[in-house]
């Protein structure tokens, strides 16, 4: 192998804040060989994105500056380049893709034109030639009908296809290095597996070097050749993948590996141990043949009459007191709608929900009153779930006052207890959400849920927006609360590893229906449904010798094509809608 394509030496980035200088990247040195995939791992704020922005000199603010070190791209010193010279590097030699393809694609420009634009600008091809080249690239990144899809707009595609389009835009100028900043974080596991495999294919075909920024060690284990672990702007560890995973040198890497939820050891056995009791008791929550339909938005120009979409279609569920049940499924599978319907936050179309024997549809007023005082919800986005104008103390005090179970004089003490329960310092009483981290906000959100002294807590994707180590802390907190307060927990997540780790029982949803249900261990070890199997095999395992699946998934199309499903009518309806749209 020849010398490295990219060589970073002692790269230092600093920013002056309020008179003092803070170091964002502290003398980081890295090498990237041709055709190598380098994984940059770390929590948010560790400087992984900052390094990549420094490489192309697109630092987020003019005050942040590279103050030392060198960046050698094939022997040329990038730190000495001026803005014009850098423009020839960006895109042409270093391409970038980002976490959220929706906000990085121009919504009013055809997908193909966005790709052709770069080709015409950087390679000086004519309109027709550029179109041919763009169609070729679209085919390479897995668009099934590149010729036709060239003329589509970003909103016509799903998240996975948009990410493919982003990759196509990045590839349009034939770069030597591709920087992928959390490219799959916003995607479902099955789509994530497809995108990761696409990146590896491109590496094999084009000899591309890739810097993959991620917080998921499973992804790194599956795709990368070498790993760099960052924390607080410092490079803690750097080496070949197998060496780092098998024999981590730094304590932080060890804790990172341990907090990865797919780590096989724990979970299953511990959860099974405490399931068995009270199987004769009355279920706390009973859902019977629940259907929730939403009217389709927009005018039904081509369909004649509007067809409502069933977000939840005939779901039946029984949850015993003290049980922890996980609901998994991809986005759009109806998990959140189910949760909201159970709490009476979304009108039911048909079916029954009964909470402690009280029936929601028949005895709505009484059941709602019961739900409001004995069930609570924890939300996905911790910032959006808390009123930005209220301090944590005011928020909790209000819940306690409205619920009315705590005597006024006892409220301050009770707030203290709640903060202790969620392990938040009492200093947070006077803080507002804006000045808190995501994990701290989520703890405050859990404290609010606990304030009603609930029997049932529904947690809707409550760790999806958090870093891995924080995720692990919140999961631990739930496990702890569950045993201490005998809570019944309905835990909704798209992350199967977390559900396996925390829950006794799991329910798999697909397009509004339950396709599989059972004990966590049983379902994950021997899934009986094709969809569950596909979902499980798509989780990137931390063991590099368990590769991502090749055959189980439909290769380059969307997940709706998962073969052999019971939910036939739903799928055909989905297709009808697709037809109408195009």
């Amino acid at each position: 192998m020849s010398g490295p394509v990219l060589s970073i030496r002692n790269l230092t980035v600093k920013v002056p804040i309020d008179g003092e200088t803070r170091t964002l990247i502290d003398a980081v040195s890295l090498d990237l060989a041709r055709g190598e995939i380098l994984g940059l791992v770390g929590e948010s704020g560790s400087g992984k994105s900052m390094i990549c922005r420094a490489l192309v000199k697109l630092l987020p603010s003019p005050a942040i500056a590279i103050t030392g070190g060198s960046i050698l791209l094939e022997g040329r010193e990038l730190t000495a380049f001026d803005e014009d010279a850098m423009r020839a590097v960006r895109g042409v030699e270093i391409g970038m893709i980002f976490q959220n393809p929706t906000s990085h694609l121009d919504p009013v420009m055809r997908i193909g034109d966005q790709i052709a634009e770069g080709i015409r600008y950087h390679q000086g091809l004519g309109r027709d030639q550029a179109r041919l080249a763009a169609v070729d690239i679209l085919g390479q990144v897995g668009f099934p009908h590149p010729e036709r899809q060239y003329d589509s707009y970003p909103h016509e595609f799903s998240g996975g296809m948009r990410q493919r389009a982003m990759i196509a835009v990045a590839l349009s100028c034939n770069p030597k290095i591709l920087i992928a900043d959390e490219p799959t974080t916003a995607l479902d596991v099955t789509i994530q597996a497809q995108i990761l495999r696409l990146l590896m294919d491109l590496r094999d075909k084009r000899g591309l070097s890739i810097i993959l920024i991620t917080h998921d060690l499973g992804i790194v284990a599956q795709t990368c050749d070498s790993i760099a672990v960052l924390r607080n702007g410092q490079l803690l560890e750097h080496g070949p993948k197998r060496r780092v995973l098998a024999d981590p040198q730094h304590a932080y890497t060890v804790s990172l590996l341990e907090s990865h939820p797919s780590t096989p050891q724990e979970g299953g056995s511990r959860a099974i141990a405490k399931v068995a009791p009270q199987s004769l008791a009355r279920p706390l929550l009973e859902v019977d043949d629940l259907v929730v339909r939403f009217p389709t938005p927009g005018l039904g120009l081509f369909s004649g009459k509007k067809k409502p979409v069933a977000a939840v279609n005939g779901v039946s569920l029984r949850i015993m007191p003290g049980e922890t049940v996980g609901i998994v499924g991809e986005s759009g599978s109806g998990k959140s709608t189910l949760a909201r319907a159970i709490l009476g936050l979304t009108p039911l179309t048909s079916g029954h929900v009964s909470f402690e024997g009280s029936e929601l549809a028949q005895n709505r007023r009484h059941t709602l009153a019961k739900l409001r005082t004995e069930a609570a919800m924890v939300f996905q986005d911790p910032y959006n779930a808390l009123n930005p104008r209220l301090t944590i103390g005011a928020m909790l005090a209000e819940v306690l006052t409205v619920q009315g179970n705590t005597p006024l004089a006892r409220i301050p003490a009770r707030i203290g207890e709640l903060l202790d329960l969620v392990e938040l310092d009492h200093a947070f009483l006077n803080r507002r959400p804006r000045s808190m981290s995501g994990g701290q906000c989520q703890r405050a959100g859990i404290a609010r849920a606990l304030a009603v002294n609930p029997k049932l807590i529904i947690a809707d994707e409550c760790v999806a927006a958090l870093d891995v180590t924080i995720q692990a802390q919140i999961i631990d907190l739930f496990r702890d609360l569950k045993t201490r307060m005998n809570l019944t927990l309905l835990f909704i997540s798209h992350d199967l590893a977390i559900v396996r780790n925390l829950c006794d029982r799991v329910v798999v949803m697909y397009r509004g229906e339950i396709v599989e249900e059972g004990r966590c261990g049983a379902v994950f070890d021997s899934p009986s449904h094709a969809y569950t199997a596909a979902l499980i095999s798509a989780i990137p395992d931390i063991d590099p010798d368990k590769p991502l699946p090749k055959g189980d998934l439909p290769p380059l199309s969307e997940p709706k094509a998962v073969p052999d499903l019971r939910g036939q009518p739903l799928i055909s309806m989905h297709y009808q809608q697709r037809e109408q749209r195009s």
């Binding site: 002056p16 804040i17 309020d18 008179g19 603010s61 003019p62 005050a63 909201r340 709490l343 936050l345 009153a369 739900l371 409001r372 005082t373 069930a375 609570a376 919800m377 939300f379 996905q380 986005d381 959006n384 779930a385 808390l386 009123n387 930005p388 104008r389 209220l390 209000e398 819940v399 409205v402 619920q403 959100g445 609010r448 009603v452």
Partner: protein
């Protein structure tokens, strides 16, 4: 968060305070000055604003009359000072009532949606369908000329912009997770509406009300100019501009000084509005 400029600035506390709150401080300063002048009008005004001195008609600005005199020999400076009282009152009352009405209606319409929303928004459409000034004039014509008629007309017509602003915010906020959380915690609708959603929705309207104050001020002047607002000989800037119009080529000071006062007061309001916007985080 912190820009480079902040970091390089001197570390003197007051300069940093000024730097962060410059617009807000200047705006509040200007308004404070006008307020002080209005309150102290009898003390600071050198002459009686409606006393006519036939010996000094149309006098140029001089030591005796710093802003000159008008065609009746009244002292312009004294009239501008006394006018401050009326004009501040117009700007404040002309904004407060539309603000309160519009905020309430917008909150209710946005939160409940459905038939409530439809009824109020069609009402807004009807009011907007008429030219603003024509509607104002007809209401004042029915009620009879005078300042109180002007305030009533303002309240009946001006609330629509606030209702629309607040309604749009409420539509976004009512689907936020904290609104859903509040429902799931058993909070009453009124509590969710006015304690949780409204404080988060109102910032944009507060900022808008500052620029609206300027428009109301000009409207008041226009209505007075048409003879339906403040009645002569009471000193009001709009009336003074109107009166001086026929002497604009020979005695420019009659229109210039009240006109300048309107501009400076308007400037103060809009600076305060910008500062409030920053402080309330409207742009975040």
């Amino acid at each position: 968060m912190t820009s480079g400029a902040t970091a390089t600035r001197m570390n003197v506390p007051w300069s940093r305070f000024l730097g962060r709150h410059m617009t807000w401080t200047i705006g509040a300063g200007i308004l404070g000055l006008f307020l002080a002048v209005a309150l102290a009008a009898p003390l600071v005004a050198p002459y009686d604003p409606i006393y006519q001195d036939a010996t000094v008609r149309l006098a140029m600005p001089s030591f005796a009359h710093p802003f000159g005199t008008d065609n009746f020999g009244r002292d312009i400076l004294s009239r501008v000072i006394w006018g401050t009282r009326i004009d501040l009152q117009i700007a404040v009352i002309g904004v407060v009532f539309p603000f309160l009405i519009g905020t309430f209606i917008g909150t209710v319409a946005g939160f409940f949606g459905g038939i409530v929303d439809t009824v109020f928004m069609r009402l807004v459409d009807i009011i907007l369908a008429f030219p603003f000034l024509v509607l104002m004039l007809s209401i004042i014509a029915i009620l009879g000329p005078g300042l109180s008629s002007f305030y009533i007309a303002m309240a009946l017509v001006g609330w629509v912009s606030y209702a629309r602003l607040i309604r749009a915010q409420m539509l976004v906020l009512k689907s936020s997770d904290y609104a859903v959380a509040a429902v799931s915690l058993g909070f009453s609708r009124a509590r969710i509406m006015f304690r949780h959603l409204l404080p988060n929705a109102v910032a944009g309207s507060i900022v808008f009300s500052m620029s609206d104050a300027v428009l109301v001020l000009l409207n008041g002047a226009a209505i007075s100019y048409l003879g339906l607002g403040v009645q002569p000989p009471v000193a009001e800037w709009g009336v003074m501009v109107a009166e001086g119009q026929s002497f604009i080529t020979s005695a420019w000071w009659i229109t210039l000084f009240p006109g300048l006062s309107i501009i400076v007061l308007a400037f103060g309001f809009s600076l305060l509005g910008d500062g409030l916007g920053e402080w309330l985080g409207v742009n975040e």
